[in-house]
């Protein structure tokens, strides 16, 4: 670790912090129906969309109707994307003449982009045409992110409103999130990416003759437009196989900072939006502090582990001063690779600028654990916020148990129904991850996909199901996941991770919205205090993390010990 490394990390995080307040307040204004500075340009488009779709923007939806609208929209998105992928061979804008995508891979990919996971069992450069990338994947990059923001706003209103039956209108929330937040930011960030070297063209490939006279075919495409929403929407599905490590997707140290900034900006601003809408910006800062403590802890552990390097390689005489360079790019260095590793998994982004499979055991433990904690640090756009609210509900419940009072959060009494639903939600992740991993670990058909043996092989399986269920999308990419077994089970894990999680959360929201808000009294546990932040961090670690400890012990932790004993597999 170096001072320069930490300074680069600090500068990047400071750039994020600089937009948290204005962006958070802007989103709060937008979702409470106020006019913003973008309305003169965009409100006509917005109204036109509602008219064409027969939507009454003033109509309120209860939690079931809100959930049904979200599911209907997701189902339509799945059908359209699946069709585009299967029919790719006969559709236009296919300069390399790529064939249609196989059924199991098309299913996996459609579910993956629909659920904001963006797990990729294929290599973009040899599988997908520009049309599939633009009209198929990029559209879902926007819409799955907008759906996440909409759901977070529904949950926010459960606390902002008193005695209400409605949580807002899904169509309105989703449309506004796309038109006023994701699209304008994508245009600005996309152009900045081009300026920094990311290609944006409809041309197919460059045919070059290298200096030594070999032929080199370099694929191009509309990368920058994709890259912008891939980061801003915490999607993470790369245009190319190497994702944000590819020099076209991430050409320089500056584009790397922009990529990290774009991943974090909206998710870090949403707690402020939440705080403002529930009438306590301090609450937003309290949530953000808890997220920051855990995230920066994760960054520090990866940075330390990767600069400490691999003792087996050092013993071969290799100079250890650069740290563990397997699977890393020179232009990013250890500090900014470590920051990317932690941010992409503390969020539910899943873009990678270093290969997670080749991280040291403890360096690889961090992204695995951050996903398993539920990706609330600060989490995917929207999904991070509603995940954090579930942890808040559980934290005040734990506090209530300790002092023997009915727990409240932001003036809403938390009762048995809400706790049951919250526990149901947090059990989905361990159930899906550990269940499928255990199953895969016993099946020869699954084990033959491993790229690494020994404890690292278990880590590959554990990472795949964590990434899918957590809707992250990054991978220990050595695993050959493009098999019917993995395409199917990972697809199911992604669906459960998104929908089986969010339905109980919406049910909590519906039940809380209808309760009347009680004023804080002397017996109310203050939820903006440092004590609460500490409690929240503890609840996230214990409730989110502890159930995974045995699996982590058998994977990365035992590998760390074996690496220091020079064992190889």
């Amino acid at each position: 670790m170096s001072i320069n490394g930490w300074l680069q990390i600090a500068v990047t995080l400071a750039l994020v912090l600089a937009v948290v307040l204005p962006l958070g307040r802007f989103m709060a204004a937008l979702f409470t129906g106020e006019r913003t500075f973008l309305h003169p340009i965009l409100s006509h488009v917005e109204r036109g969309f509602y008219d064409a779709a027969g939507i009454d923007p003033a109509q309120e939806q209860g939690w079931t109707s809100y959930a049904m609208a979200m599911l209907a929209f997701s189902a339509a998105g799945f059908a359209a994307l699946y069709a585009i992928l299967r029919l790719q061979g006969v559709l236009p804008l296919n300069p390399m003449g790529l064939p249609g995508v196989a059924p199991d891979l098309a299913f996996n990919t459609a579910v993956s982009f629909l659920t904001n996971t963006n797990w990729q069992a294929y290599s973009g450069e040899v599988t997908l045409s520009p049309l599939s990338q633009m009209a198929g994947l990029a559209v879902q990059n926007f819409l799955s992110a907008a759906t996440g923001i909409a759901l977070a706003m529904a949950v926010t209103r459960a606390f902002a409103r008193s005695g209400a039956s409605g949580l807002g209108n899904f169509w309105v929330d989703m449309t506004r999130a796309t038109l006023y937040i994701l699209l304008p930011l994508s245009i600005v960030v996309g152009l900045a990416f081009v300026a920094l070297g990311v290609p944006q063209t409809l041309g197919g490939a460059m045919d070059a003759n290298t200096l030594e006279g070999a032929s080199q075919v370099i694929p191009l495409g509309p990368l920058a437009s994709q890259e912008a929403i891939k980061q801003l929407g915490t999607n993470g599905g790369g245009y190319f196989n190497a994702n944000s490590a590819h020099p076209f997707e991430n050409p320089s140290a500056l584009s790397n900072i922009l990529a990290i900034w774009a991943m974090l900006a909206i998710s870090a601003a949403l707690p402020i939006t939440f705080g403002r809408m529930v009438g306590s910006e301090r609450q937003g800062w309290a949530l953000l502090s808890a997220m920051a403590v855990l995230l920066i802890g994760g960054v520090a552990l990866v940075y330390w582990a990767e600069t400490a390097g691999n003792p087996i390689i050092t013993a071969l005489g290799v100079d250890p001063s650069l740290g563990n360079m397997e699977g890393k790019e020179i232009r990013f260095g250890q500090a900014m690779s470590a920051l990317f590793v932690a941010v992409t998994t503390g969020l539910s982004c899943g873009a990678v600028n270093a290969m997670h499979d080749s991280l040291t055991p403890l360096g690889g433990l961090v992204p695995l654990l951050l996903i398993q904690l539920g990706e609330v640090l600060p989490g995917g756009v929207g999904s991070g916020l509603y995940g954090m609210v579930v942890f808040c509900v559980l934290a005040v419940f734990v506090a209530g148990l300790m002092v023997g009072r009915t727990p409240e959060f932001l003036g809403k009494k938390i009762e048995a129904r809400e706790i049951r639903l919250a526990v149901l939600a947090v059990l989905i992740l361990p159930l899906v991850i550990l269940g499928f991993t255990a199953l895969a670990a016993t099946l020869p058909a699954a084990l033959s996909s491993l790229n690494n043996q020994g404890p690292h092989g278990l880590s590959e399986l554990l990472y795949a199901y964590s990434s899918a269920a957590g809707n992250n999308g990054s991978a220990f990419a050595g695993l050959n996941a493009n098999t019917p077994w993995f395409n199917t089970t990972l697809g199911i894990a992604m669906m459960l991770g998104r929908f089986a999680y969010v339905l109980p959360v919406l049910a909590i929201a519906g039940s809380l919205a209808s309760k009347t808000r009680v004023e804080a009294s002397s017996g109310t546990f203050p939820t903006t205090s440092l004590l609460f932040v500490g409690l929240l961090v503890g609840v996230i670690l214990i409730l989110g993390g502890l159930q995974f400890f045995p699996a982590l012990a058998l994977g990365p932790i035992v590998e760390h010990v074996l690496m220091h004993a020079s064992a190889t597999f």
Binding site: A53, V139, P247, L316, L322, S358
Partner: protein, 177 residues
Amino acid sequence: MTHLRPAITLLALFTLLLGLAYPLVLTGIASALFPHQSQGSPVVVGDQLIGSSLIGQAFAEPGYFHPRPSAGGYDPMASGGSNLGPTSAKLIERIKAEATPGIPADAVTTSASGLDPDISPENALSQVARVAKARGMPEDTIRALVQAQTESRLWGLIGEPRVHVLALNLALDALTQ
């Protein structure tokens, strides 16, 4: 199903807006404002397209500086890393075959993209003797060229010190001619 019409209509409208209009408009603006970058930063010498300044390429001749090992052999159609873990016997065997005492780590490790265009300054300096011998030139001349081609951190803060292999080799050829 009251939700069917809004679902299908909005999906169609957003596909047109986000899937076609957005990338096409961005392509138009990008090609007007940044014609070089938007086309993949091509490197043209004379009338020959040599490659892209962002994408690493393979060099094996002793008279050129060599890039890092690549899991995909610098084929841009096969980007990616080795994905070998830290206790992989394959990884350790591969490095053992290449390692010499004190060799910089990036000279024996594959990058994440398999297309890393850069090497560390230490790696470049460790190749000076071989290049000088193959070209029949004094080592000091080659070493001075490496130092001139070494990029430092932006504003002394951002990024890592590095040497761009293709730029260095082009400068090397220019020096010889």
